[in-house]
């Protein structure tokens, strides 16, 4: 079933938490809402779930206007940021809550709960209380609880935010697997982590300050970000000021061959892993080097642009220049694109 948001606006008192959001999520599609803290992602999700009432706009599920329908009647699965397991109910009873509310026969409840706990790998914990579980385990139970009622729409609010890096990677795997087990469910996945969005989403909606900035298929958004904000938020692109004259693009006075000029006030966008150190590039100075295991992150300043920090990811193993040394920075034209400067 499709979820449609039309011009959805939410106010909390005088603060506007969500401004005119238009978004459609098709059945079987995963859309990630990606944005920094306070950008209105959770608010958008709460509006779809029915936890907050939009001050303007309509929400439709499968074509039916549900804007005034209470949450209990929407049949949406929700996993909230804090999991919100019911503390006095055992894991199995948490998962069974929705089924019992729907007055399913006892045998079916038992079977479905077992099935869901099995799916998230929590069968052995059925008799535990939530407080006896780790964060990742609580997370799984919350997902099982939401999916037990076979919702056509699943909303996940930053489900991995509270987990440590290792667990996060594991859970990301599990979520991908889970995605394949519920092929027809429309999923809205809220996150502030671009890696999660890229790994899980068919399309990514980038949010900022209560507004939708860009929305596009993940690969497109990554390869050709439509705005400077999206470029830096999704993949941490370098944004360099450029001078455009006739059909030539120059950075700090150096022409870049092969980069097509564009109208307007633009920035040059290039990913840290695409920048290379080699001969014949822009003269720059290495300011810092950070070893990150598989790669090293170098921070440089191009001569003539002392205020702009350029990040470069180079594979580990090779020799690194000394910090403070003069380097030559190559910007391969196929990795460069121009994005409207706008507001950063």
């Amino acid at each position: 079933m499709t979820v449609q948001l039309e011009d959805v606006t939410v106010h909390f008192g005088r603060t506007c938490a969500l401004e005119g959001l238009n978004l459609t999520v098709a059945a079987g599609e995963t859309v990630a809402l990606l944005g920094p803290s306070g950008s209105g992602k959770s608010t958008a999700l709460k509006a779809v779930a029915g936890f907050v009432r939009p001050s303007r706009g309509r929400i439709r599920i499968a074509g039916v206007d549900v804007t005034d329908v209470p949450p209990a009647k929407r049949g949406i699965g929700v996993v909230v940021q804090q999991y919100a397991l019911f503390p006095h109910l055992r894991v199995a009873d948490n998962v069974a809550f929705g089924l019992r509310a729907a007055r399913r026969p006892k045998a079916e409840v038992t079977r479905r709960v077992a099935e869901m706990l099995d799916m998230v790998g929590m069968s052995t914990y059925a008799r535990r209380f939530p407080r006896e579980l780790s964060g990742g385990q609580q997370q799984r139970v919350a997902i099982a609880r939401a999916l037990a009622i076979r919702p056509p729409v699943l909303l996940l609010d930053d489900p991995l935010a509270a987990l440590d890096a290792q667990l996060r990677a594991d859970m990301l795997d599990e979520l991908q697997k889970l995605r394949r087990e519920v092929p027809d469910v429309a999923i809205v996945y809220v996150t502030h982590d671009q890696a999660e969005a890229l790994a899980l989403a068919d399309r990514i909606a980038v949010m900022r300050a209560a507004r939708l900035v860009d929305i596009a298929p993940s690969a497109d958004l990554y390869a050709a970000p439509p705005s400077a904000f999206t470029a830096s938020f999704l993949g941490g692109a370098n944004l360099l000021p450029v001078e455009v004259s006739a059909d030539e693009v120059r950075v700090a006075g150096h022409p870049l061959a092969g980069v097509r000029a564009k109208e307007g006030n633009n920035l040059l966008c290039i990913r840290p892993h695409a920048v290379r150190l080699g001969s014949g590039g822009l003269p720059a100075r290495l300011l810092a080097a950070q070893w990150r295991g598989a790669s090293s992150r170098l921070t440089c300043a191009i001569d003539g642009l002392p205020d702009v920090r350029v990040h470069i990811d180079v594979p580990a193993g090779g020799p690194l220049p000394e910090v403070g040394a003069q380097v030559s920075m190559v910007l391969p034209p196929e990795a460069c694109s121009l994005v409207p400067a706008g507001t950063r």
């Binding site: 779930a49 936890f51 929407r74 109910l89 929705g98 729907a102």
Partner: protein
């Protein structure tokens, strides 16, 4: 002193501080002994002035047994009523958004400071023979139900106060999730809210039970014929009939009843808390 005698091993500075601390404890303990324990001891001795005969006579009387049963009946019924009304009101104030919620919860706090006979007095205006609803209520005030209703009216805030606090601590998002799973208001209240506020419910309920057990003002003011409770009997015997030993026997029973109930509730509550942590 005792502390010094026992703790001969502690460091001198520590010993000094400890004995100083026990000195601080002395005035309140003496005060407590003079004002509370001593009168109670007097009451207990007075009850034995006639030997065990007074006890046998009083405890054996139907008058006493009826009062004991009445007291417990009224107290238990009132407490159950307070729990039902209090839970309902607290849930509405906590979870149904309406503009005056804060004012209402302020009124609840104010109610806690009112004397109980005020409720009884207002009842005589409402339901008394000359009162507004007098003709309709038709002798309502002379039944024990009048006392029960008055006690529910007066003691419901005592249940609501801890409940409001406990309900405010339930994360809203938990209720949201429960609703999104298809839980209607009744199911969310009974399956999520009530289990989570159970300690507050037990605390408020046991406080109410203790207070209604010892309630005097309301019973006296409503003065119904059938509603002689233990405190009323103490009053009648001691003040009206000058039967001091008899009054003291009942008073001792009353005290024992309260203390036993308190001890039982304390151990039940303490056990629960220990299990939760």
């Amino acid at each position: 002193m005792a502390v010094e005698a026992l703790n001969f091993q502690v460091a001198p500075s520590n010993k000094g501080r400890q004995s100083k601390r026990s000195l601080w404890l002395l005035p309140p303990i003496l005060l407590l002994a003079a004002l509370v324990v001593y009168p109670l001891v007097l009451v207990a001795t007075e009850s034995f002035t006639g030997g065990l005969a007074t006890w046998r006579e009083v405890v054996g009387s139907t008058e006493f047994r009826n009062a004991l049963i009445r007291t417990i009946q009224i107290s238990v019924t009132s407490t159950i009523g307070c729990l039902i009304v209090g839970t309902f009101l607290a849930a509405v104030i906590s979870f149904v958004p309406f503009p005056g919620a804060r004012i209402v919860s302020g009124v609840v706090d104010a109610m806690l400071s009112l004397p109980s006979f005020l409720v009884a007095l207002s009842f005589t205006f409402l339901y008394g023979t000359a009162g507004v609803l007098g003709s309709l209520a038709g002798g309502f005030l002379t039944t024990p139900w009048a006392v029960v209703l008055a006690e529910i009216t007066f003691y419901t805030p005592f249940v609501m106060r801890p409940l409001l606090g406990a309900m405010a601590r339930i994360p809203r998002v938990q209720l949201d999730v429960a609703a999104s799973l298809g839980g209607g208001p009744w199911r969310v209240l009974s399956k999520i809210v009530l289990p989570e506020v159970k300690p507050a419910l037990v605390a408020g309920g046991s406080l109410t039970l203790l207070l209604t057990l010892n309630e005097f003002g309301i019973v006296l003011f409503l003065g119904a014929r059938d509603t002689t409770t233990l405190p009323m009997l103490v009053h009648t015997k001691g003040i009206v009939m000058f039967d001091y030993p008899g009054a003291c026997v009942i008073a001792v029973v009353q005290i024992l009843l309260s203390i036993t109930l308190y001890a039982v509730l304390r151990s039940a509550l303490g056990g629960r808390r220990a299990r939760l942590d």
